[in-house]
């Protein structure tokens, strides 16, 4: 800012600020982009990696055979215990399955590892609890809808 063009500079500065004011004004006239959560929910895509659920086959039984593939794939040990029944002859089914949401990274590696498509990450993103124990899900709380039902 040299002395010679001080006047020009002042005028240009003022103009630049007026330009900015026009931008804010045009934005004020645009529709709002925010949503009124929680009254207005944001649509969550189908592929969302949220809460883990166990799926059931057509016979209503769990698809999980307690093969431990998901446990081995999990990077953060969020699936600490899996036990199946030991009935001979029939296919093995999971009896105990624990998912620790507080450890989960929601990376989806367990779903990818599962050879039976028995687990899935769902659109449920709000996983809250009053203490840590609430975030440890056993099989009862992990049950998803059976085949044919909508998610």
């Amino acid at each position: 800012m040299t002395r010679t063009n001080l006047f020009v500079d002042v005028v240009l500065s003022a103009l630049s600020i007026v330009k900015g004011l026009m931008v804010t004004l045009t934005n004020a006239l645009r529709p709002r982009v925010t949503r009124n959560h929680p009254f207005q929910k944001t649509p969550i895509p189908e592929v969302w990696r949220g809460r883990l659920v166990h799926l059931r086959g057509e016979d209503g039984r769990l698809r999980c055979t307690a093969c431990l593939a998901c446990q081995k794939a999990c990077p953060s040990h969020a699936i600490p215990t899996i036990q199946g029944d030991d009935k001979k002859g029939k296919e093995k089914r999971a009896q105990v399955y624990v998912w620790d949401a507080s450890r989960c990274l929601f990376c989806g590696l367990c779903v990818e590892a599962c050879p039976f498509d028995a687990i899935r990450l769902t659109r449920e993103y709000s996983i809250v609890g009053e203490d840590r124990a609430d975030l440890i899900f056993d099989l009862n709380r992990l049950l998803g809808p059976a085949e044919g039902e909508t998610a």
């Binding site: 630049s16 600020i17 900015g20 026009m22 969302w48 990696r49």
Partner: protein, 369 residues
């Protein structure tokens, strides 16, 4: 002290770890004389999670989700650097479509990250409204990511051998619509911020980083390109399909905050260009190569280099032949940028400290690892 004047006393000002402008949990010990900074000592480590140590106890695929948490504003680049190193070790060839999808993901992430830069930089300088504009446009990218990867920030969607899944229907159209919108919005930012006299007064000539100093300190990315050094990993060592794409490496010779800011603003336009090319050329085919269930790379070491929004993000992987890496090291650009910061701050005022820190665009997640 014979003048009879009271000697000025330096005060030590602790900026951070909880301060609105330190972009996370950085702590700067500023020694001030009045408002002028005499010395600065950055203190880091508040976000250290030991990811490099954790990686030693995990299998190769399992490390991937942790890389998201380094530079959490552009998890694609982190994934890419790690995956690139592992693929080099394995000698794995990735399907063409996956390469394009990776570039799309990387460039979307670059725009998103630069938008956060724009937003926070403007906010640091007091232009709160631009903050919300930047976040508003970034949300469009987040929508794209969530419909593709099912996550907004921590996507881990660049996987060893390809990408996590193919893009869903409608993705290309939505992405192209974004590409059409973005340049208009960038013009708007230019009108409200870049041209603004006050903004220029705050950034022009402030926080000089001479090119030699930058190179000597390992600075990279927009921070170095703002000093006129034409160094971009995408050009220097093209990975994926960057070699076939038409884009400019933006540089500015001014070495100041304005230069770094302008480089990023221009880079967003270049990213839009890259995105348009990729979306139009996207070949059909597989998105993931055949990868063995248990990944056991042969003994050796590899260095995966990626141009992240902040600079050269690299991953050094040493394999001892077991399914777990012997060493995973992440070369974080912000780490190096922070180490030059004291040199850049000297002699400037507290208000400039915020501007200069904002202009090197650090993410503490990758600094502390």
């Amino acid at each position: 002290m014979t003048t009879g004047l009271t000697p000025t006393e330096h005060i030590t000002l602790n900026m951070g770890p909880q301060h609105p402008s330190t972009h996370g949990v950085l702590r700067l010990e500023l020694e001030l004389e009045g408002e002028v900074i005499v010395a600065c000592r950055p203190i880091i480590g508040y976000l250290h999670r030991g990811i490099e140590k954790m990686a030693e106890a995990r299998t190769y695929p399992q490390v991937l989700p942790y890389t998201d948490r380094l530079d959490y504003l552009s998890s694609s680049s982190n994934n890419m650097a790690y995956v690139q190193a592992v693929e080099k070790l394995l000698g794995l060839e990735v399907p063409e479509r996956a390469k394009y999808l990776r570039v799309i993901s990387l460039e979307l992430n670059r725009i998103a990250s630069h938008l956060v830069f724009l937003a926070t930089f403007a906010n640091d300088l007091g232009a709160t409204t631009v903050f919300l504009y930047g976040m508003r446009e970034r949300e469009l990218i987040m929508d794209l990511f969530s419909m593709w990867a099912g996550a907004r920030l921590t996507q881990s969607w660049i996987r060893i051998g390809g990408v996590g899944a193919d893009i869903p229907d409608g993705f290309v159209d939505q992405a192209l619509a974004f590409c059409r919108l973005m340049p208009k919005r960038l013009d708007e930012y230019d009108r409200i911020l870049t041209g603004n006299r006050i903004f220029r007064a705050r950034t022009e000539g402030v926080g000089i980083l001479p090119p030699e100093l930058g190179v000597n300190y390992g600075a990279s990315g927009p921070t170095l390109r703002g000093s006129g050094v034409e160094f971009d990993v995408r050009r220097a060592e093209p990975y994926e399909v960057y070699g076939d794409l038409d884009f400019e490496v933006v540089t500015r010779p001014t070495c100041d905050c304005m230069g770094r800011y302008l480089v990023r603003m221009q880079e967003m336009r270049q990213s839009v260009r890259i995105l348009e090319q990729c979306l139009k050329r996207l070949p059909e085919g597989e998105v993931r190569a055949k990868v063995p269930r248990v990944i056991r790379p042969p003994e050796g070491e590899a260095y995966g280099r990626v141009e992240s929004p902040r600079g050269e993000f690299a991953c050094y992987v040493v394999s001892d032949g077991s399914p777990r890496p012997a060493r995973v090291r992440f070369r974080a650009p912000s780490f190096y940028h922070l180490s030059v910061l004291p040199r850049m701050l000297q002699g400037w005022k507290v208000g400039d400290a915020v501007a200069i820190l904002g202009s090197i665009d650090i993410v503490l997640g990758e600094v502390d690892r």
